[in-house]
C-alpha cells in the first residue's frame, strides 16, 4: 500500500476535522 501523501498542511488539517484523524507532517529535504 502506497502512502497518499498530501502536500498542503492546511488542507490536511481541514480533512482531519471531517474524519477525526490526526495529521502527520513529514518535513523532508529529499525530493517528494
Amino acid at each position: 500500500m502506497a502512502v497518499d501523501w498530501r502536500k498542503d498542511a492546511d488542507a490536511a488539517i481541514a480533512e482531519a476535522k471531517t474524519n477525526g484523524k490526526l495529521v502527520l507532517l513529514d518535513f523532508s529535504a529529499a525530493p517528494a
Partner: protein, 146 residues
C-alpha cells in the same frame, strides 16, 4: 508502515524546495522532522532524524499517545505508550514509553502504586537511561500525593 499511516493519519510531505513557508511556520530546524497535529492544527509531538521502521512506528505510537494524554484519554494513552515501548525494548523509547504509561495510569487512578511499581521496574530493566534516573524519586522517596 504505510498501512499504519493510512489508518491513523492524514499524511503530508513537505519538501523544503516546495514548502519553505511551512518549514518556517512550524519552525523546522532539521530534516527529516516528523510532527503530529490534531484536527485543530495543534502540535502534540515531533522528532527529528531517520529511524528504522520499527523505531519509526514506536515514535508514531508515542506521538499518538501524547495526543491521547493531552485529551485525558488515559487508557488509550497507556495502550499507545506501552505499544511504543514494546516495539524495540533495547532503546530509550522502551523506558520512556513505560514511564508515560505509568504516568497515564497514575493520572487516571491517582494511585501512586503505578509509579512505584514502574519505578522499580525501570530501575531494573533500563538502568542506564535517564528514565531510570527519573524513577529514583518513586523508588526511594515515595510517589507524589494525589
Amino acid at each position: 508502515v504505510s498501512e499504519y499511516i493510512a489508518q491513523n493519519f492524514i499524511p503530508v510531505k513537505l519538501n523544503i524546495k516546495d514548502s519553505r513557508a511551512a518549514w518556517h511556520r512550524f519552525e523546522v530546524q532539521w530534516s527529516p522532522t516528523i510532527m503530529i497535529l490534531d484536527s485543530d492544527g495543534k502540535e502534540h509531538f515531533r522528532y527529528e532524524g531517520f529511524l528504522p521502521p520499527a523505531n519509526f512506528l514506536a515514535e508514531l505510537d508515542f506521538g499518538r499517545g501524547r495526543v491521547a494524554f493531552h485529551r485525558k484519554q488515559w487508557d488509550e494513552a497507556t495502550s499507545l505508550f506501552n505499544s511504543a515501548a514494546a516495539r524495540d525494548t533495547k532503546t530509550e523509547m522502551a523506558a520512556e514509553g513505560a514511564y508515560w504509561a505509568a504516568v497515564a495510569q497514575y493520572q487516571k487512578t491517582h494511585d501512586p502504586s503505578a509509579l512505584k511499581n514502574w519505578g522499580k521496574r525501570i530501575a531494573a530493566e533500563y538502568p542506564n537511561t535517564t528514565w531510570a534516573r527519573r524513577a529514583l524519586v518513586y523508588t526511594t522517596e515515595g510517589a507524589p500525593k494525589a
